[in-house]
Symmetry: C2
Subunit: 149 residues, 2 copies
Amino acid sequence: MRDPSEPFPPAGVLKWDENGLIPAIVQDATTGEVLMLAWMDEPALRATIETGQTHFYSRSRRSHWHKGGTSGHVQHVESIRVDCDGDVILIAARQVGGACHEGYRSCFFRRLEGDTWQVAARPVFDATKVYGPAAPPGESDPVVGMREQ
Amino acid sequence: MRDPSEPFPPAGVLKWDENGLIPAIVQDATTGEVLMLAWMDEPALRATIETGQTHFYSRSRRSHWHKGGTSGHVQHVESIRVDCDGDVILIAARQVGGACHEGYRSCFFRRLEGDTWQVAARPVFDATKVYGPAAPPGESDPVVGMREQ
């Protein structure tokens, strides 16, 4: 692992927002399905690169989380891209299980039909068994410390 | 077109940020390639739904823009999805030309290789011919008013 005090060249071209965060889209490396969007700060991006699994920063909990750290539904990183403006990251990953804390493969399981959002996918796991009956809404992999943090 | 003063039910489940915006990912409806991420306010989402082409709100210019309004590189909307938290939109679209103002099909044309971001795609059009030699960085379709605004 790289010493956190060492320079981190990949961060140089990134434009972090006023809270030091950048949105990261995660896409299924095989199917192209967009699985989720979450936010990273620099330590989360470092952890993602160094461990090969996605790590994020939860704005609601104000803490880091390792995706799948307790559910087992980790995301193995295949590639990391940045957009032209340097303010969005795109990660292609192999998703274990489902990305969504509500039990779906993708968080984008509702589609606009007329004026209403309709569920357009079937769950791939039982969210109440994985997260318990009172899973918090969103960004819901329970807090686990990032390694080396 | 719907009267802007009428209720807009799709907005009800959406969580707009403190600036009244929501990030919208645009994905190629055919290939699954992630093309770009931009921001929408409610009028931009209404215009997107009502015209069938993507409209956004530029945070840097503080104005609306119709993607492809001058370049011709419009995005024909195939579907609109929302994530579990209601704070991200995913649009599947048929992209005319390229999504990126730098001439690439996707804005995510740079991939992390070791510690550096390497260009990993070839341009699909000449950006200087479409936008001129001094194209502004990012969100760069020149400002055009949204219809009905």
